[in-house]
Symmetry: C2
Subunit: 383 residues, 2 copies
């Protein structure tokens, strides 16, 4: 390398300094980082087509898609919020947006900024969507075309009871759009069985791949509506992506190839670990270890019992201590957690992500340090 | 690595097999590939903010932006086509789309699929936009809100006379949107001096970085219009991106961090090579070497003399030989060129990309092989 010093300068800034318990991007598997550095080539070449097709097939199996199509976008997960609204909801049409935290609010923003109306059904931070309240809202708003659900709310660490909520949505025969950005890869998704119309995730969360790639399963019903939807745009035009899947084993514009290769590697790792069930058990085990460790320290969780997320835990700070103080103290000890996120809870929570590459030894080390940090902060403040 | 075999399986498919002369993604600089494998972390962490800000500053200098803002999207370059139309052109408003090949047509598709009207001004493949014809079209269509120009048409290897065309557009006081996907980094761009409103490129072309990141400079005038534009969406909402640049040194949703780091490395390499002028000279030198080599073989170029692209050369095949035959024969010899692209010229052209990482020795080797391939094909066909 002729300009190795240029790499060194950038590396000095971005090199790993912390053990990561972030909300995303998360630590990637070493196997993924290894493939990230592969030389590029044309996305219309045969070699790309093989990986494209293989990744779609693996995702179809992982998400249990019988009818419907796997679509990948060169975008962050939010791209699919925009796609779902522009492809499948009429201009000025109504969408029932359920909100249990900051990312539910984002879906409402996407609905409104695309000229549709968001009917908001909001719950207090820490709570999931109540199926009865959802049923009532749909009784009252018979003209909504779709319902949005945040499967796993990254800001509060709550996992919504998706199968139950999906059942309610289907009883009212509405389209169901599921934001699974921090769920996909860490919580089970049974696309066809649960009757989902759009479910999307992204590379940088529970799959443990760098950011840049969004992934979704889309129902036939959405394509039928989309094909007749005017002004649905080009960049997130779902029928166009399906056409390119079928005819070119590719995407309409250039995809983030390294991330796609990385995701393909992870899907092969999942297979080697014994398949989806074993992989999800790993996520459950991590989450339980962290929840129990946090409780042993004497801290409480934000999530209502029974709805704790398998991928991220939001912890209430002890009275008199701010979330950011804990975040900063842990950072000084070499652990990057996540700050609180969202109105009203930013200061009184901090979050521990448990996605991506992570060993149980490091989790224990993090918990030991967290105990010391809390003790120190309490002592310092005379609490 | 516990699952090294999973990486090996994918690597076997995607590993470098060819010397690349592709239209993009192109071969990346080894320095870029080195940083692509760095471990991830939060895009809201201080370390990300440093690179974000530094990359914006370097791009501002590279594109000569005085007034206006550098915006990066987690998308392919086409994302900025959609952004320009949705942020700065009224619904049902008219756009004069100049077309000199397939990517001009794409801009028209983006205009129309977003509910705007495309007035098309089309030229024969190989020709640039004629400034007089542009002037006439603007005289005739006084109600267009914007003009689109493909700076470098990847499908025909033609570089438009952008400063001259920009002057015409400014005389008519229209917005100017420039698709510089295969130009940015390989052809000069003087954003403020030329009076451009939107100019966009992407990581995987002349910068020699993997795909996934789009880059643009946006004028103040566009932001003024955008702030009042209804239904401009969320994902490509330009004022929202500017707000995040200013307040968070980041993007509204997660950016493709490895590609951003890669681009930052390339911008540092450009600085070390002596700055933009020296870097662009390298591109000119490559282009001239390839054009002369091709002519020596007895082949003709598609581009009208004086408008040849510095980043990609479209070559007319000898009578009786199809472009794909040459592409395939070169591939067998270890060189990946690009096939012809676009209606009417796909069969009778092939293309030689000269973007990204490439030595002059390999260019010579490619030319030597091309000569042999053409001779062989002619002999085989008795031409």
């Amino acid at each position: 390398m002729q300009y190795e010093d240029a790499v060194k300068e950038v590396y000095e800034i971005v090199k790993p300094k912390y053990k990561l318990f972030t909300a995303g991007p998360v630590a990637c598997f070493p196997e993924v980082l290894e493939i990230m550095k592969v030389q590029m080539f044309s996305h219309r070449a045969k070699e790309y087509k093989i990986i494209h097709r293989d990744t779609l097939d693996r995702l179809r199996k992982f998400l249990e898609v019988e009818d419907g199509e796997i679509i990948i976008f060169p975008s962050s997960g939010t791209g699919f919020m925009e796609a779902a609204i522009r492809n499948a909801v009429s201009l000025n049409g109504k969408v029932l947006v359920t909100i249990i935290g900051a990312f539910g609010k984002r879906f409402a923003d996407v609905v409104e900024s695309n000229g549709r109306e968001a009917i908001k059904l909001e719950f207090e931070p820490g709570n999931p969507v109540d199926p009865n309240a959802l049923d009532e809202a749909l009784q009252k708003n018979k003209d909504v075309e779709a319902v949005t659900i945040t499967y796993n709310e990254t800001s509060t660490g709550v996992l919504n009871p998706l199968p139950e909520l999906a059942k309610v949505v289907k009883e009212h025969d509405k389209l169901l759009f599921v934001d699974a950005v921090s769920a996909m890869g860490g919580a089970d998704i049974k696309f066809s069985k649960w009757g989902i119309d759009v479910v999307f995730g992204s590379s940088q969360k529970a799959f443990g791949v760098p950011p840049g790639l969004a992934v979704a399963a889309i129902s036939e019903r959405v394509f039928e509506i989309a094909e007749k939807m005017p002004n649905r745009g080009w960049y997130f035009d779902l029928p166009l992506y399906r056409k390119f899947n079928k005819e070119k084993d590719g995407t309409p514009s250039t995809p983030p190839m390294p991330q796609l290769f990385g995701l393909n590697v992870v899907l092969r790792i999942i297979e080697r670990m014994g398949g989806k069930e074993e992989w999800l058990k790993m996520y459950q085990k991590r989450a339980e270890m962290i929840r129990e460790g946090v409780k042993e320290i004497g801290l409480n969780l934000l999530a209502k019992p029974g709805y704790e997320s398998p991928t991220i835990t939001a912890v209430l700070t002890p009275e008199g201590i701010k979330g950011e103080e804990i975040y900063n103290a842990m950072r000084e000890r070499g652990f990057e957690l996540a700050k609180g996120y969202g109105k009203g809870i930013k200061e009184k929570t901090f979050r521990i992500g448990h996605m991506g590459y992570m060993t149980f030894e490091v989790i224990q080390e993090m918990l030991d340090n967290l105990k010391e940090v809390i003790d120190e902060l309490k002592r310092k403040k005379g609490l």
